[in-house]
Amino acid sequence: MVDSLRGSSLRIAVASGKGGTGKTTIAASLALSLAAAGSPPLFLDCDVEAPNAHLILHPNLGRREDVAILIPRVDEAACTHCGRCAEVCQYHAIAVLGKRVMVFPPLCHGCGSCREQCPEHVISETPSVIGVLEAGPARAGIAFARGVLNIGEPMAGPVIRRLKQWAKPEAGQPVILDAPPGTSCPVVESIRRTDFLLLVTEPTPFGLHDLKLAVEVSRELGLPVGIVINRDGVGNAGVEDYCRAENLPILLHIPYERAIAEATARGRSLLDVHPELETRFQAVFEMIVDAVGARA
């Protein structure tokens, strides 16, 4: 199956909109199925505010690296309080109040505009650690990496961005990115510059509502999309009707079963309960390869 990738590594992001639909369950099962087919992928847990893929993939996290952003420091004695720094900061992380300059590190994205634009050159930068990257081998030969945002830090984006640069796939190795829930900046950061977006949903009004938002994001980014319906059997036909109307391919249904929830709660994978799904996940991967190949 790797032949059809022509040596390039296919990057598949798994997202959902609604939280708790089974993103990590699906992403881990896809990774394990690829490993079983002799093509163990690189797995990136991009849900840096609450990473949990390690509970299923059991990595041995030996490599670590801090993630820091550069926070401005103003030499107040030399500052003329012209206000240029505050004017250029689109996050309002630096304020000039009369003869005082204040920096608000939790608002700072570390972009460096204030330092760049300061006409007096009195702004320097100091690194502020906001999280950590960890990597190591996981179950079935999967290469695993994740970011962890420090508690109390509000900005997931820089950690996710750094994780995607830091953890590199080998030539021809597929990459699976487990995105955070929602449709805001951390999700966009996770799924941008990927080749395909697998959206996991559940057949409920809430699942449908957030699926629509996630599909809008994918269109904004120009990403091809496939749908996985998890907990099939609950709710109503709303998701199926929507997918049909919008021409969104439903690649897989996972039944609503207590046994699956019990296994997941014990740190086992969906495939441990339903080994027969392995070939289904491999087929999903081939459909994704075809879909991406057809666009190229």
């Binding site: 505050a86 996050y91 309002h92 304020a95 000039v96 109040l97 009369g98 005082r100 608000f104 608002l107």
Partner: protein
């Protein structure tokens, strides 16, 4: 002397807006003459940093005090650094339209 009162509309009769950084309007008021000017809050829809932006606006207007229903942690720090007095209005006044008018001479 001038003060800023956060309001949900551009008039003296508009109810006081309960939030400082996310208020709809900043009313710069002279409490002696009752002269006032309404400024729409430029940070109303900002993704973040509305409080620091609002505090800078207050500082740039040279007001001595701000009146609102709540001040966030960033706005509080910034206003304090700017030496601007913060006054909190209780809930009974926040919901009452004309509260500001009846406080002025």
């Amino acid at each position: 002397m001038t003060i800023i009162v956060t309001t949900s509309g551009p008039e003296l009769d508009s109810p006081v807006d309960p939030r400082f950084g996310r208020a709809a309007y900043f009313l710069v008021v002279d409490p002696v003459s009752s002269d006032y000017k309404a400024h729409p809050n430029p940070a109303l829809d900002a993704a973040g940093g509305a409080g620091t932006q609002a505090a800078q606006f207050a500082s740039s207007q040279g007001v001595e005090a701000v009146v609102s229903g709540a001040f966030g942690p960033n706005a509080f720090q910034a206003l304090e650094a700017a030496g601007i007095v913060m006054s909190l209005l209780g809930p009974a006044w926040l919901t009452r339209s004309g509260a500001l008018r009846c406080a002025l001479p």
